[in-house]
């Protein structure tokens, strides 16, 4: 086991998992791949089954780094888990992203060790809800918008550097359910929104006013894929390094604060 963990530490993978712009990513490829390859043994909720141990700890956490998990899925384990290298790196990343969504919501007491932040958390909060306009799209602990992913738990299992990278280089990778598309209907109307669903028969768009446009493909003449989410791509220049650091610090610290309201039974 010692070798196993050492190997995991040595094999640091350079990828980060980003779902800040994902709606809930659980309808995406990660969920599909997870159901296809993992759920049969580890359970649909990742809590384990007869054939394999739980992936989620009793405190509701996946107690492994993304790079560690990637290697385990890719190479398998001595304990009997088969390797899944054949499904491709992108699919493995998608599975890991889904795995993080299985973590329970109430923040547990165990914050990741690498939580050290250097910015001004309160200044970051002010920027998040003010000048930087993050809250127009992203929810944080019950406050903010809905069109983009909730950031309530986003920073919990991510380092400050990972969060910073996600802000400055969005859409890498682009989460399918976050992509902005422009659809032209048979009636000549152009609709722009986030592509929540699509198949050969239907398209489900959500415009920024929250409205769902549930369209039959037969009623659509053109679909333009922007290959982007709604996330601005200029935060690296729009914000000063200090401002960026403050926002990152806020996201990391706020994500480690419990989001459950206390109620005393009367």
């Amino acid at each position: 086991m010692g070798n196993f963990l050492l190997l995991g530490t040595l094999l640091m993978f350079g990828f980060t998992v980003r779902d800040a712009n994902a709606q809930s990513s659980n309808t995406g490829p990660g969920a599909q791949r997870f159901m296809e390859y993992c759920a049969g043994c580890h359970g649909a909720d990742g809590k384990g089954g007869d054939k394999a141990p739980p992936l989620i700890s009793p405190s509701g956490r996946v107690n492994r780094s993304d790079s560690d998990l990637f290697r385990i899925v890719h190479d398998g384990t001595r304990g009997g888990m088969p390797p899944f290298a054949q499904i491709g790196d992108a699919n493995i990343q998608a599975v890991l992203q889904f795995l993080r969504t299985l973590e329970s919501n109430p923040a547990s007491e165990s914050a990741s060790p690498e939580t050290a932040v250097t910015g001004d958390v309160e200044a970051g909060r002010a920027l998040y809800f003010g000048k930087a306009q993050c809250s127009q799209c992203h929810l944080m602990q019950g406050e903010g918008g809905f069109i983009a992913g909730s950031l309530t738990n986003y920073g919990r299992n991510r380092t400050a550097d990972e969060v910073r990278q996600a802000i400055t280089t969005p859409d890498s990778p682009l989460v399918p359910s976050s992509q902005v598309v422009t659809v032209t209907t048979k009636g000549g109307q152009k609709l722009t929104g986030v592509l929540r669903n699509e198949d050969n028969f239907n398209l489900d768009l959500q415009s920024q006013d929250g409205r769902y446009h549930l369209l039959a493909r037969s009623d659509v003449t053109d679909v333009r894929y922007t290959e982007h989410s709604l996330m601005p791509r200029d935060y690296g220049t729009r914000l000063s390094p200090k401002e960026l650091n403050d926002i990152v610090s806020f996201l990391v610290v706020a994500s480690r604060t419990p989001h459950v309201k206390k109620v005393d039974a009367r």
Binding site: L139, F146, I147, Q206, L214, V263
Partner: protein, 578 residues
């Protein structure tokens, strides 16, 4: 427009002048709001361009399948339901009656499956889907989903792992669905947290644990919105918890009131609860109640007392277990109560939906509650004061009561569970149960499922213990092969119009709904989803879902097309005409 594509609506009563004026004002305000919404939406879609409507989509309105989720208190007051089905029972009456008439006895034979949705289910689904503006909301354990109601495709999914360490019903992670107000969705979790989610994204806005101090608490129900509050019940009544109904501010999650169903020392009704037994007295509240806005009264049923089969530790009537409570929705104050099964010894919960009915009874107009109780009697009460008006037994083998007195109080047959056991009918599972009843106000017909079975009930007393059930018993089932019926009770004749025996080897736990087209819709005892003629009970169409139906059906419409939906086993099914 042919009759097969027309959506028609009926109304059952003429509202008062004030209500009509208020509705006109609301309509005017709604119109202005809609106008703004259309302009805003069009402007976003095509800046400066001509404003056109979407294909297959009509002008924005809370009644249309237009994709805008914004449920107003006035939307929840609409009776009966039509295009939207915005709460567990559809509307506040609990009648589970849809005014949609596109699907008729003549064309129902053409009904076809439209889609199947397969969530991550850890136990049979018990959810009734809620549909607003073409978006369907369902729950499976602690997970919530928004679906395109035309295709069953997931728009969002709120993931929350099941809770460990729960016992009994909450330990099976049942969940009966969501409530919705404005742009927010509310649900209960297995470990009794009230969640507020953004209905447009599924993201968590707040999370309030609302039952503490006893690990045997859990929740399985759907919340009920009343005005600006979210009202919830609690589960664990067989496990020694103290029941309550509680209301929370829909905006902030702050608790506004809590009515304990088992009175504390010094409170009226505490006589049955010596010492700290009130803390384990049961009387849980595990189905949504109903609400009369004119009387400003919330009607909510309570479950059995605990321990279930050992009455020696709870002498007397065991208030307020096995009761119907009439509560002030603003304060939680008790207005009146009616106890169906005083000092219950047979697990006869009274949480079954108390249906609000306005009808003539023996020639006189009445504001009624009609409810079929787990104890085997159908009751009609005056909902202004809780006065007993009428009862009808519906279990042929019923043996626990010699009858009811003039106040509706049962005359006990003296069957007391002991170490040896005593045979009781109906069985502890009840003559009926939580599966929904339905009332068709046009036909004056009350529909419900019943189950004829007996059980041998034993009492082996033991003290309360957290983490362990408080049944205080070993139940020996007598008639495993009981008989299920779908019943139509006629309020004009005060007798059954028909009783349809359900043949099959899978005891159904599916509720009933009805429509203005005269249809009655349910799951049978052979894993079929059935549409029958409401006047005769004759089945007109069925579809084998191949899984136990443990949920109650509903109806909705999107783009001028009517659907029936039901959860069965681990899937949600939707049906419509071709």
């Amino acid at each position: 427009m042919t009759s097969s594509t027309r959506l028609a609506f009926t109304t059952t009563k003429r509202p008062s002048r004030n209500v009509r004026l208020f509705r006109r004002l609301l309509r005017a305000m709604t119109f202005l709001w809609l106008l703004l919404a259309i302009l805003a939406a069009s402007g976003y879609a095509q800046p400066g361009g001509p404003q056109k409507h979407l294909p297959r989509q009509r002008a924005a309105s809370s009644d249309d399948g237009n994709g805008i989720i914004n449920v107003q208190p006035s939307d929840l007051l609409k009776q009966p339901v039509a295009v939207n089905w915005p709460s567990y029972n559809g509307d506040y009456t609990g009648a589970r009656y849809s005014s949609l008439t596109q699907i008729t006895p003549r064309n129902v034979g053409q009904l076809t499956a439209q889609w199947v949705f397969h969530p991550r289910a850890v136990s049979p689904l018990e959810v009734t889907p809620v549909v607003v503006a073409g978006i369907m909301f369902v729950t499976s354990a602690n997970d919530a989903y928004a679906l395109d109601a035309k295709t069953g495709k997931v728009l969002w999914h709120h993931v929350r792992a099941i809770s460990q360490g729960l016992i009994d019903d909450p330990g099976q992670h049942h969940n009966r669905g969501v409530a919705i107000l404005g742009t927010r969705v509310y649900m209960e979790t297995d470990n009794a947290h009230l969640l507020c989610l953004d209905a447009r994204s599924g993201h968590l806005i707040w999370d309030v644990p609302y039952a503490t101090g006893n690990k045997n608490y859990g929740a399985t129900s759907a919340p009920l919105i009343v005005k600006d509050k979210v009202v919830v019940g609690i589960s664990g009544g067989d496990d020694g918890v103290r029941g309550f109904v509680a209301a929370f501010d829909a905006e902030t999650g702050a608790e506004k009131w809590r009515f304990w169903t088992i009175p504390a020392p010094g409170e009226k009704g505490n006589a049955s609860w010596p010492g700290d037994t009130y803390l384990h007295g049961g009387g849980t509240t595990w189905l949504p109640g109903t609400y009369d806005s004119d009387l400003n009264t919330l009607y909510w049923g309570t479950g059995n007392p605990a321990p279930d089969y050992d009455g020696s530790v709870r002498p007397g009537d065991d208030l307020y277990s096995s009761c119907l409570l009439a509560l002030d929705p603003d304060t939680g104050t008790l207005k009146w109560y009616f106890q169906f099964s005083p000092h219950d010894l047979y697990d006869y919960d009274a949480v079954q939906t108390p249906v609000i009915v306005n009808a003539r009874l023996k020639g006189q107009p009445h504001k009624l509650i009609v409810t079929a109780n787990r104890n085997g009697f159908l009751y009609i009460l005056d909902r202004t004061n809780g006065k007993f008006l009428f009862a009808k037994p519906f279990i042929n083998t019923q043996n626990w009561a010699k009858g009811l007195d003039e106040n509706g109080r049962p005359i006990s047959a003296g069957l007391i569970p002991d170490e040896k056991g005593v045979r009781v009918c109906p069985a502890n599972g009840g003559g009926t149960n939580w599966y929904s009843p339905s009332y068709n106000p046009a036909a004056h017909m009350f529909y419900f499922r019943s189950f004829e079975a007996c059980a041998v009930l034993q009492s082996n007393p033991r003290p309360f213990e957290e983490g362990r059930s408080y049944y205080a018993t070993g139940i020996r089932n007598g008639d495993e092969t009981g008989k299920g019926y779908i019943n139509a009770f006629d309020l004009d004749t005060l007798d059954f119009a028909w009783r349809d025996l359900q043949i099959g080897r899978h005891k159904g736990w599916g509720g009933v709904m009805s429509t203005a087209a005269g249809l009655v819709v349910f799951g049978d005892d052979a894993q079929n989803f059935v549409v029958a003629d409401g006047h005769t009970g004759k089945p007109l169409w069925h579809f084998h879902v191949g899984q136990l139906i443990h949920a109650s059906p509903m109806s909705y419409a999107v783009d001028a097309k009517q659907y029936f939906a039901i959860a069965a086993g681990s899937d949600v099914f939707s049906f419509a005409l071709p």
